[in-house]
């Protein structure tokens, strides 16, 4: 049987013993816990921003993204992403889990697994409240199996982007922009929810059922990001790492705080009232934006990145909704796509080699990398979702959508 063949424990290569470090391992595993903890964060934000009749469905999707990701990334994904291969994709056999570096192979492997699951889970929010559960699973399998590993290989697995000097420290592009672009493809192919736009094409608000869940989710994501970014140093020993992880922590927090403040001010000025749901998104946009450059920009620059990412997110939410009539219930495209794109590019602008020794990070490559990944993910998404749409159908019946996916897709109501 396939499962039993794998000798799961890292081969006890004698030399490896010397450089594997307990402190680094602890740091990486702590990071894995925290990034895992972002899963409930996403689940809560998405559940809070949608209606209670679809809550069980969206929670289920978040579980499935993580569960499918865990298994598939182990079976195939990690091998494609980090296996030896060409500039486009790697491969090292099934159930490949890498080899020891400063941490055991399995520590690296689990840390990468939770990142993969994060990318997968971004999309569910944008496609909420109208997607067939079974068809969502098809997408979820494909991102963990193919899409994320391939584009991840480019930047992090030794592929062509990494050779060009593309700098994406913890995944503004690799994780968030990829998820955001897929989310955009999904939202476009699906079309808006019933009742989202009136006959005159005016956008109607469909408020989520619980801002409390949404706010709790944002706090959860925020603390998870302290694993996502700082722990991406994947080493904690020695002066340089200690300084680097502290610095990443500070810039991450600063961008998040500033991102929230900007959204607060923006909604206060534009809509007349400070909006909690937009502050939630603003914090996330700041976090997504700083992720690429959190190691190599100054604290001041992180505040600027947070500002721009959050502002762009606010404008994008409006633009997509009111102008493009793309219905993204939780703002996933704006938060992960737009902020991820800008964050990656701004890393090229604010990157300061005196901080983390990153010298070869240029705007040109940053723009190139971000756009290529976005295009790749978007086109893959368009293809997958269109094929599903025209074969089995991507969207539930109107009646099911109106009465709620929970009952018809899962036979359970979230609240009784």
């Amino acid at each position: 049987m396939l499962f039993l063949d794998t000798t799961a424990a890292a081969p006890v290569v004698e030399e490896a013993c010397e450089h594997v470090n307990g402190l680094d391992t602890l740091w990486v595993l702590l990071g894995a816990m925290l990034v895992f903890w972002m899963q409930p964060g996403f689940a809560l934000v998405e559940a809070g921003m949608t209606r209670s009749k679809n809550t069980a469905n969206i929670l289920m999707k978040n579980f499935c993204d993580f569960m499918a990701g865990s298994v598939l990334y182990w079976l195939v994904g990690f091998s494609i992403m980090y296996g030896a291969g060409n500039a486009f994709a790697g491969w090292d056999g099934f159930c490949f889990i890498g080899s020891d570096s400063n941490v055991p192979a399995e520590a690296t492997f689990i840390f990468q697994t939770v990142f993969c699951a994060t990318a997968a889970t971004i999309v569910s929010g944008a496609m909420a409240e109208r997607t067939k559960f079974s068809m969502y699973l098809v997408y979820s399998v494909l991102i963990s199996l193919v899409i994320y590993p391939i584009e991840g290989h480019w930047s992090w697995g030794g592929g062509w982007l990494s050779e060009l000097g593309f700098h994406d420290f913890a995944g503004s592009t690799v994780v968030h922009l990829c998820g955001g672009a897929l989310a955009l493809a999904g939202a476009i192919v699906l079309g808006p929810r019933v009742g989202k736009y009136d006959s005159a094409g005016k956008s109607r608000a469909i408020p989520g059922h619980s801002l409390t869940l949404c706010a709790l989710g944002v706090f959860t994501l925020w603390v998870g990001w302290f694993g996502f970014n700082p722990c991406s140093t994947v080493a904690a020993t020695g002066y340089d790492n200690a300084v680097s992880m502290s610095h990443v922590f500070v810039t991450t927090n600063m961008a998040a705080a500033v991102g929230g403040i900007v959204a607060l001010i923006y909604t206060w000025l534009v809509d007349g009232k400070p909006s909690l749901s937009m502050v939630c998104n603003g914090v996330l946009a700041g976090l997504v934006g700083i992720t690429a450059g959190c190691d190599c920009v100054s604290i001041g620059a992180s505040a600027i990145i947070g500002t721009i990412a959050s502002l762009a997110m606010c404008l994008s939410v409006n633009f997509l909704d009111k102008k493009c009539h793309i219905d993204d219930p939780v703002g996933a495209v704006s938060v992960h796509g737009v902020a991820g794109l800008l964050g990656t590019i701004m890393t090229g602008i604010f990157c300061d080699s005196s901080i983390d020794g990153v010298t070869d990070c240029t705007i040109g490559v940053q723009v190139l990398g971000a756009l290529t990944v976005a295009a790749f993910a978007f086109v893959s998404g368009l293809i997958i979702f269109s094929v599903i749409k025209h074969t089995h159908g991507l969207r539930v019946e109107k009646r099911i959508e109106e009465e709620g996916l929970d009952i018809y897709e899962h036979g359970e109501a979230a609240y009784n």
């Binding site: 956008s203 109607r204 608000a205 469909i206 408020p207 989520g208 909604t267 534009v270 809509d271 007349g272 009232k273 909006s275 749901s277 937009m278 998104n281 606010c314 939410v317 409006n318 909704d321 009111k322 703002g331």
Partner: protein, 115 residues
């Protein structure tokens, strides 16, 4: 026997309740409801403004003997009043009979006077 239904501001419910209990009524039923009316509230969700004509209201139902109808209506008109648009309405209708599930009695006798 008459049924008096009042659709009042939710925020005025406590006043109405106290005044009702202080008057001849000591039993009534109420539930949350919404009213579509003239008074509108502005809301914004994720940048989309929507002025809702939906107001949270309390629907209070009292069944009482003929002789208390007037005083009960007065309670609603007084305790439920703010003078601003959205104060609500009172409707009076007929009830044919009334039973107490506990005792099985029916008719006016069920609607005891205040002890």
């Amino acid at each position: 026997m008459k049924k008096i239904e009042a659709i009042i501001r939710k925020t005025k419910f406590d006043d109405v309740k106290e005044m009702l209990l202080a008057s001849d009524i000591d039993w009534f039923e109420y539930h949350d409801c919404h009213g579509i009316g003239q008074s509108r509230q502005e809301r914004i969700y994720r940048g989309v403004c929507y002025s809702t004509d939906m107001i949270e209201r309390m629907h209070v139902t009292v069944i009482c003997r003929e002789q208390f109808v007037e005083s009960t209506i007065k309670v609603f008109l007084t305790a439920g009043h703010t003078g601003e648009v959205g104060d609500g309405r009172i409707f009076v209708s007929d009830v044919l009979d009334c039973y107490s599930i506990r005792t099985g009695e029916h008719g006016d006798i069920v609607l005891r006077d205040k002890k």
